[in-house]
Symmetry: C2
Subunit: 243 residues, 2 copies
């Protein structure tokens, strides 16, 4: 009957899900790799295939795994599609989606501010790496953003961001640091463009910008990145589906 770790009064499938998520977070199946089949896992845990299926289906709904008939179940992996549809909600007038190109302005390390420390749940005095960049859509500068991550979690990020341009930052977090971003919380406000932002985005000072304050979380629900973006919404809008 496959005893777990102790008495647990949640449904079986929910316990199985927690165990599988734990193994996933521990790196037992790196992003993109196949998990054992349903039947194998069911046998391993001593439960029916139906129970195991319910656990895996919920994990798929949370985008922790990818399931495909005839192929198998795979640990979630970042892709351009995922960045585009899950994490980049600024779309063009006609609704078309496109990932922006990025130009890094600055990249430096320093002591976390009180705000950064709290949001990223860091120890007092921890070192963070900050990236300032401008992002372009169809040749136009549209976004001005400042990204903050823990230097301990992402060492040498400065050097990495210099050369590579092809992939998104989240691809790099996953590929080079083994950190997969699965969820994010965004807080939106309207703000006035500062003098510098106005210059970078080719607008006038005081022009209204959409501020996106994003905290990104890894599979363990720990915050791993703080990103504050100021976006010109002259030719784009932020799409939010309420359902």
């Amino acid at each position: 009957m496959g005893e777990a770790t102790g008495p647990d009064f949640r449904p079986l499938y929910s316990q199985i899900k927690a165990l599988l998520t734990q193994r996933l977070a521990a790196g037992e199946w790196p992003p993109g790799q196949a998990l054992p089949s349903e039947t194998a896992l069911a046998q391993e845990y001593g439960v029916s295939q139906g129970t195991l299926r319910k656990a895996l289906n919920e994990m798929e709904a949370e985008r922790l795994v990818d399931r495909r008939q005839g192929k198998g179940t795979f640990a979630a992996k970042h892709s351009a599609a995922r960045s585009l549809f899950q994490f980049f909600l600024l779309v063009g007038e006609n609704g078309e989606r496109q990932l922006p190109e990025s130009r890094t302005l600055e990249c430096s390390a320093g002591k976390a501010t009180r705000d950064e420390q709290e949001v990223l749940e860091l120890d007092a005095g921890a070192t963070v790496t900050r990236i300032m960049r401008v992002r372009h859509l169809k040749g136009r500068p549209v976004i001005c953003e400042r990204i903050t991550v823990s230097t301990a979690l992402f060492p040498d990020l400065q050097r990495c961001t210099a050369g590579e341009v092809t992939n998104t930052l989240y691809d790099m977090y996953e590929g080079r640091y083994g950190v997969t971003v699965v969820r994010a919380r965004e807080r939106l406000r309207a703000v006035a463009a500062s003098e510098r932002e106005a210059e970078l985005l080719e607008l006038s000072t005081g022009a209204p910008l959409l501020e996106i304050h994003r905290v990104a979380f890894n599979i363990n629900k720990h915050p791993v990145e703080l990103r504050i973006s100021h976006c010109s919404t002259a030719h784009h809008y932020y799409l939010s589906e309420l359902d």
Copy 2:
């Protein structure tokens, strides 16, 4: 084996779901009313309880029905909680949620503009009812919004919005007109406050405001309301969960 209406190559549970949704949309079970039990419906359609359960569970995920152990399955009904958590995403600094009070400024009927006609999928020359109102949170004026609906779908809305203040507009759509809003799409931009908005919201002209362009849909996926809100984000932010 319970023939449906014709040859259909989707999975059984998906066909059942479509049939149940259709009956729900037709008003067979008004908001809040109980549907027959799983066993009864399974027998009616000649499928197993498991298949029927899968259909109902998906409908619950889409918030078309409410299911509670020991009680039954109920047609979705609007509630303060639903308005608050599904449709009102402007929250206070400390993350607390609260529904705003509304003060109607104007309410009039007229010919739909080209934009309104397209968004609401109306015939050319259709009549619409428009409401202008200011909404307050904790005594402060925070939102300035213009609402447009089809007059044919919501007759006499002008008279209705005059007196009643207790409930939300969506409660009224449901209670008086039998229209349940189940989904919405919002497009967000940063805009500058007009002179009038600045006055109403007690800000200076040109101050940055968050524009929310919302289209609300009924259970049949038809657009039933257009709402453009201009929000002061001095003491509130728009919360968007990306998962």
